[in-house]
């Protein structure tokens, strides 16, 4: 009705009729769909990450690799024989093990000290005759249990325990947190509760510069400055050239700006009324800071710490440069031990073939790393949501 009234009005003034009804605008729809696709890309990224990590990890856990047992058959074995003699020495074989002789796969039914009784022609292979002296290979396959409990990691020869890598990751991250937490929190308290406007204006850019320096530079710093420093203080016999302590300390310096700026944000968000109330009660500055402001900002601080831990665990270049190559199961921070990220970098740095246990193994480590950091990030988000004090 209103439309007609309007057009009547317009007609009355002698201008051509204007149709003001809503029109379908195809162009707008196309643009909106394009923008939606842009937004959905981020979901594809996540799906891609989870899918690829899971797929290659599945290969890692289902893949059969052959380990040389150094055992040979003593005499020629016909295609029908179910029992044959094997040489002494070499790896221990158990009942139920899958073994391979040339191209034929068989399963051990029972064994005595020098003879094996097997089921021939397993896994789709045909039973065939074998000459004396042929070597036995034992099938090894990563199991979840071995992955999480064994302390040896070398997938190429059938050692699938990820613990050495996880332990050294945890050690470097803990050292980093020992450096970054106290320093970061104190700096944040200083910046938000003590520093003058001018001091804050000069200090914050310095922190931002520190935060913008690429991690590879920190790695260089660890190797050329921190390691020699540690070695000259503690002695060359104690500290190895590549060690977790140096990498951890420098990693702490790396996450220091992050801890500081997140903590400072949390502290600044505490309303001034709380501080004034504390002063009115006769509290000194430090009592106000430590007993009123810090508890009030607790959720933000906790979130900052957890996010920093997750950052430390995922940090790569420092440990790749300074913590040493080659997995080692050690709790001594002054020894070399490869972390999860360092291992991924070293393995993928060489030309690896796509169809190898090494290729699958870095994705399995990546999946574990992804879950560790994701869990920490989700926890920090929950803390913020759950414990945030709303003023």
């Amino acid at each position: 009705m209103r439309d007609t009234a309007l057009s009547l009005d317009v007609q009355a003034t002698g201008v051509a009729a204007v149709d003001l009804r809503r029109k379908p605008r195809l162009g707008e729809k196309v643009i909106q769909s394009f923008l939606l696709i842009c937004a959905v890309t981020s979901i594809f990224t996540t799906v891609g990450i989870v899918y690829e990590l899971a797929r290659e990890s599945l290969h890692f856990f289902t893949r059969q690799s052959w380990e040389n047992t150094n055992k040979r058959i003593v005499a020629d074995v016909g295609a029908q024989a179910a029992t044959f003699e094997v040489s002494q020495g070499g790896a221990v074989l158990r009942e139920g093990d899958i073994v391979r002789l040339d191209e034929e796969v068989m399963q051990i039914v029972s064994r005595t000290s020098d003879a094996l009784t097997v089921a021939r022609g397993q896994q789709g292979t045909a039973a065939a005759a074998h000459d004396a002296g042929a070597t036995l290979f034992k099938a090894s396959r990563a199991t979840l249990r071995e992955f999480f409990t064994s302390t040896k990691w070398n997938p190429q020869i059938g050692h699938f325990g990820v613990l050495p890598l996880v332990i050294s990751t945890l050690i470097t991250s803990s050292i980093a947190m020992l450096v970054a937490l106290p320093l970061g929190l104190s700096t944040a308290i200083y910046l938000s509760e003590y520093a003058s406007e001018r001091a804050r204006k000069t200090l914050k850019p310095i922190l931002e510069v520190l935060a913008g320096i690429p991690t590879v530079v920190y790695g260089y710093f660890a190797l050329t400055f921190m390691t020699p420093l540690l070695r000259s203080i503690l002695g060359r016999d104690v500290v190895e050239v590549y060690n977790m302590a140096s990498a951890g300390i420098v990693m702490g310096i790396l996450i220091l700006p992050m801890v500081t700026s997140m903590s400072e944000d949390a502290l600044s968000a505490v309303p001034n009324a709380l501080r004034q109330a504390a002063y009115a009660m006769g509290a000194t500055r430090v009592e106000t800071a430590l007993q009123v402001v810090v508890p009030a900002a607790f959720s933000g601080l906790a979130a900052a710490f957890i996010v920093s831990i997750s950052r430390a665990i995922g940090e790569t270049m420092i440990v790749a440069i300074a913590a040493g190559a080659g997995p080692a199961f050690t709790f001594n921070p002054f020894q070399a031990a490869e972390t999860m990220t360092g291992h991924i970098v070293r393995i993928s740095g060489g030309d690896i073939s796509y169809d190898s246990i090494d290729y699958n193994s870095i994705f399995a480590i990546g999946l574990l790393l992804f879950f560790m950091t994701l869990t920490l990030n989700v926890i920090s988000q929950c803390i913020v949501r759950r414990y945030r004090e709303v003023y």
Partner: protein, 413 residues
Amino acid sequence: MKSISANGAFEENIPQRRRTGQIWHTLFQASTIVGIIFLSALLYSVLNQTFGLVAIENQVDPAALAVGGVSVEELSKEQLVAVLQEHVSKGLFRRFEYDRPFAQRSREEVYRLVWQHVVAPQAVETWSLYESIFARDEIEAAVAEEFPDATLQFRSWLNRRLLTASQSSDPEQAGIRTAILGSLWTIAITILTAFPLGVGAAIYLEEYAPDNWLTRLLQTNINNLAGVPSIIYGLLGLAIFVRALEVLTSGAMFGATDPTTANGRTILSAGMTLGLLILPLIIINAQEAIRAVPDALRRASYGLGATQWQTIWWHVLPNALPGILTGTILGVSRAIGETAPLVVVGASTFVAIDPRGPFSKFTTLPIQVFQWTARPQDEYRNLAAGAIIILLLLIITLNALAVVLRNRYSRRL
């Protein structure tokens, strides 16, 4: 504060509490200073390695090459060729001739060959800046004793050769030219991938998205992606871009295959991987910039009969642009310094030829720093320090640009 209730004890307590306060204050201040000391130590260790004394030993003393009393610098081209023929092996000489006949080479070129292959200066030992300044006498004595033929010279490892020479197995010849070009190519691809996608996603989330499960999922997902370690993106790039999309990323689809690369480990893969890495950062920053545009502007535009897209394109985006650009620059400066994902995607360990396009093999500045740092020779550490300074200059310039943009436009609305 429990003593407040006790009468009289309150005042006795005050000096004690003040002292505690003072101690804590000093502690807080000290930790701030420690942070600054760390930054200085880091810069110091880099600068310390960039400059310093070098003991250089020549394979052949240039004075011995003089012909008839004319020093080697003033020899004619023909004489230089003769010198070269006399001192290098026949095979090597033939290779020079084969690469480019001597008749076509200029005198300077021949002179450079003589210098590289006959005189062949090698740094036998290097010292840091600190040692060079404070222990110069001892160094001179040590050099005179250990390397009597060597000359001592003060060198800045950050020099023109470092910038213009390509990668080489001889530290005297090595430079970061290929690495810088590789970085620039990679970053170009990164921006082309991440900027349109990131800004598009931010516009959708801020201007169009209804409040439903999909939007909440998108937002949570973006926040979580920002916390995923960069090396995981490297694994994603390796599996998707390098391996699954090899036809596309190696350039085989376009028939533009670089003969030196037969696989997907190219600049294109690296750039797209970094693009995905900084995507969440760009989205979050662009969202904030768009959110900061006042609603009055949108209503005014709608009031004049503009459609939603016209409003966004003509009013929201121009006002949000400085913020969006600031976020993008910060993302780019992060991407320039990223090393781990590129190692995983398959940066080449040794590239001596300039990249010619998105389908070339690549190395980047941080990768070069990583590789030189990992080598045991001292000269490579010095070269790495020089490369780090270039990298830091690049990143600080970008960050400064972002800060200027932010300060300049932040007060306009």
